[in-house]
Symmetry: C2
Subunit: 600 residues, 2 copies
């Protein structure tokens, strides 16, 4: 097994010992699944990730997707070959019900499986991630005909999917999209519309891998006067395939350009022009789109996909951080440099392995805390998604934690990748070492599927200040349970006390922010998100450490001591940072409000 993917023991611990996957499997929904089957899928994932996703990691970075003279996009052939293998093994359908040709795996198992592909090659694994999320929307909200025509081929991995939200002038502010959908009668796949507009940042927007591409496009249906409704409430969702069904030829979708990214390059990212008239399906211009769900419900449906994608972004960030950490660890054990600070000598006074230097140990522990912390956080959320089908509390908790899982993993995962470079010294700054690319790849994650600033507003505004307070209370109960278990372990008792204090601090901060004028409170949303994220991850570290300290796991002693060590590091070195973030929130400072532009 490759030393750079997620350790099988890690997934064992997280899934079975910590997240109690056996309980999840007891649901009647999973009556055909057992531990052996799940582990077989995870082992297969690791193998396939290593054999088919990893080898072209650097090649896909060196060779950006390209546009040919016909306006078609091509990607490195190895990407297509890997995804055909992935499809052949049924992995596109991993999380779908058997009725749709899927394996019916719990979401948390599917996420654990995905983590290996993302660690091996995040850009290649973006295609199935988007395809699966797209198909899930169609399965949930589409008609039978739509499911049969557009979801099933995606679940089989023959057709790929995209989500088309942003436009050049509208990304975070989707209410301002201008893509127009004019009614065009009925079709076998529901109400038919003709779409015109420009869609930006479309990952997988075109490629030469799959037989077809199903775009889920947000657009607005004009009113009787031909005007587009204002704001997000007028947005509808349309299934807009590249090739029309029933051999009706190309849809009126043209690739206007490719975005050349810093990293994540294997994922072709396109500007698409809809309805520019280059193709004229059924004899006239306009991209044919089939309405899915009700008019005006587009954003609500898309947010189902978006929430899944946000967890997926967090998972990718965690996987990139984890892989960087593993590279750095290996390098630190092999590279020799310098002498021990305490003056102790090696045989022949040779240089020591750099892992023996405390500052390198510090950098590795930070990476361990961030990478394993992020992986734990995201898988915890995935398990909530499974439990949420039968448990409203889990669903509420998931909604609260989604912006945290997305952002904490992205922001701190990137810091972990930064430190993986630093451990490598100059070598890490060269394209000969993978840590350089991991860092560039991960830099996307704080941006796409809602920037960090947007996640802060979502957490503090929507999920806390404008909620009924229940999600936060539910989280508090979970944290209290962990504290009460951890207090019984002498080596964790101090951390438990610190977590109690930290959670009190969260509560007091929320009180202050609730009492304030909303815009003033929200001006500090990003600081709040950072502080809150660190408290959440401290809790998850303590929860895992308690299992290790009380030996409620079959993992070996070094593994358990490593988790307890990382937990201690997080409480001693990382958690103290929350004071700065929460102090800023509590001060309700207006230092960054209404600053005149000329003062910058």
């Amino acid at each position: 097994m490759s030393h750079i993917l997620i350790r099988q023991g890690e997934l064992d611990f997280l899934l079975w010992d910590w997240l109690k996957l056996d309980q999840i499997l007891q649901s009647p929904r999973f009556d055909t699944l057992d531990r052996e089957t799940v582990n077989a899928v995870l082992e297969l994932s690791a193998k396939l990730a290593e054999s088919d996703f990893l080898p072209h990691y650097k090649a896909a970075d060196a060779r950006d997707p390209w546009l040919d003279d016909n306006g078609d996009v091509h990607v490195l052939p190895e990407i297509g070959e890997a995804l055909r293998q992935f499809a052949e093994l049924g992995m596109f359908g991993a999380s779908f019900a058997e009725a749709y040709g899927g394996m019916n795996l719990p979401i948390v198992v599917n996420s654990a499986s995905q983590s290996q592909f993302m660690a091996a090659n995040v850009a290649t694994s973006a295609y199935p991630m988007l395809t699966v999320a797209n198909a899930r929307v169609v399965v949930e909200f589409g008609s039978e005909a739509q499911i049969a025509k557009f979801a099933l081929p995606q679940i089989a991995g023959e057709t790929f999917g995209t989500m088309c939200l942003s436009e050049p002038q509208a990304g975070s502010g989707l209410g301002d999209i201008r893509t127009r959908a004019e009614p065009d009668g009925q079709s076998d796949y529901g109400a038919q519309f003709r779409l015109t507009g420009n869609k930006m940042w479309i990952s997988g927007g075109d490629q030469d891998i799959s037989d077809n591409i199903v775009h889920l496009v947000l657009a607005k249906i004009p009113d009787a006067d031909g005007r587009l409704p204002e704001g997000t409430k007028g947005i509808s969702l349309f299934i807009t395939p590249k090739h029309l069904p029933d051999d009706a030829g190309r849809n009126d979708i043209a690739v206007a350009g490719l975005n050349h990214k810093m990293g994540y390059r294997g994922t072709a990212n396109c500007l698409l022009n809809l309805g520019e008239g280059r193709f004229a399906p059924y004899g006239k211009a306009g991209a044919v789109g089939y309405l899915i769900g009700e008019p005006g419900q587009g954003l609500a449906m898309m947010f189902q996909m978006m929430n899944e994608a946000r967890i997926g972004v967090g998972l990718g960030a965690a996987a990139l951080a984890y892989r960087g950490y593993r590279h750095a660890l290996r390098y630190a054990m092999e590279r020799t440099q310098g002498r021990a600070l305490d003056g102790s000598k090696t045989a022949g006074n040779a240089p020591i392995a750099i892992i023996e230097h405390p500052d390198v140990q510090r950098m590795l522990l930070v990476q361990k805390c961030y990478a394993e912390g992020a992986l734990g956080l995201v898988l915890y959320c995935a398990a909530l998604a499974d439990r949420g089908r039968e448990d409203d509390a889990a669903e509420q908790l998931l909604a609260l934690l989604t912006p945290v899982a997305k952002t904490w993993s992205s922001e701190w995962g990137l810091v972990a990748n930064d430190l993986a470079i630093q451990v490598h010294g100059g070598y890490g700054y060269t394209r000969d070492f993978d840590v350089e690319q991991l860092y560039r790849d991960n830099r996307l994650n704080p941006i796409h599927e809602g920037t960090t600033g947007i996640q802060g507003l979502d957490l503090l505004g929507r999920k806390i200040l404008r909620s009924d307070g229940v999600p936060l209370k539910l989280l508090g109960e979970k944290i209290a349970q962990t504290i009460s278990r951890a207090e019984k372990q002498s080596e964790l008792a101090q951390h438990a006390q610190r977590l109690r204090d930290a959670w009190d601090r969260v509560g007091r901060t929320v009180e202050t922010l609730s009492a304030a004028d909303a815009p003033r409170a929200l001006a500090n949303a990003t600081h709040f998100l950072f502080g809150f994220g660190h408290v959440v991850v401290a809790w998850l570290w303590l929860d895992q450490a308690e299992i290790c300290a009380s030996a409620k796991t079959g993992q070996d002693e070094a593994y358990r001591l490593g988790k307890i060590r990382a937990c201690r590091f997080f409480f001693e070195v990382e958690l103290p940072k929350i004071v700065a973030w929460f102090d800023v929130c509590a001060s309700l400072t207006d230092v960054a409000v209404a600053v005149p532009a000329e003062q910058f």
Copy 2:
């Protein structure tokens, strides 16, 4: 003037109003210089940076230096053209005495001039930075013949220079270098040696711009038994030109390979093989090197170059951060997205400029604090270098602050560049926008010329724990003076109190660390460096804000209010972070000491 270089008003304020350049110019050393001349050089620098350095910024990134079949390195021709302009205007000699053909500018003026070239194109400006630092070593330690042959052509910008310290197996630990220097008689340029070994990470190690390249090479002279002395004390320094003097042909130096970097690509970075026998100067293998200074004094001399280079790295990092900030500011003023948090509406309910969103203002203020803070810090150090020629206290303060100037600018400058991308959203992640490249370029700075970990050991170990305490005391006096001035300004009084508390905290932390076992204390050196750096920069912000608040500057009101605002932001949002770093130091934690490798 380009909106992305350093503002002329910024340099005016820093040099004249804050650093009191007029006092420095009163030294008899500068009796031919006046304010008008200095400002003319600065204006010329900005113009040349814009006309000749900026235009090939992206082109040099897209086209890495390349090696031809003869083993010679080529760089983008525009780099050479820009540097020939730079030479023609006498800029290589800016900081050298007139006797050497220089302009005799103070170091702080030269640094301000350089900041424009670095902002425009940090990779191109690395060639003169290294050349100037090399020439300064030769001028200071070389014989007359060495100066005439090797320093003057560099000061004229005809020949370029490098520093050859690292080897593939020895970077941070230079005591382990293996390059061997065998005595080879006398020459017109002093004692001649034959060098064999491999030198790694040599910036400008080969190129097709200058007529010759002067390598300053660290190597060891074997003892009578042919053994190389152990440790750093046996290291000597050798002038090792690519082309031998007096038309004696190529020296035995071969380019074994180019390093392909994440950024900073225009600077050709080479692995050089010395004495591999490809060339045989004077009929035998071995690279000809001329001893400079005394045997065994190599590292001491090289550290003069290194200290200058560390300030130079800090300056480059500050310039990159500053330029990123300027890009982000421009973008934030032009890009519209979303609506105001307070529900206020624009005409026609159009989206607002993103600079009006508090989180964007926050990101811009962080960048302003980091970019302008770093520029101030580095220029403060440069002014100390000028004053240090006549003032021992200034020299001691400079030695204390050098690791801070190098690291604080590199680490936080990189965070500023990260936020410049974030302000741009998805666009910032594409290679169409310069912020993406600025971020990749800046990622080198925490690594080269001594990593952040090495700077931490230098600051805490050498400059504080193993010093007589004078440098820290001198700094404390400066800080007390600023506090006493700032207290008199009502809007700064609270910051002054916070700075007093922060400095007390530094003192208590140093006491704790001094009382501890040295290896345990040094295990926390990086945390100390981060905390100390933030206190130092808080002091410099307050010092500048006091000038603005008391209107002791001719800059306009918006500029002054902007500085006072940024100072307030630094004290409210940034300075509180020191608690976490100093708490960790004070706890003398051993959480990252002697962790068994299998626990990672």
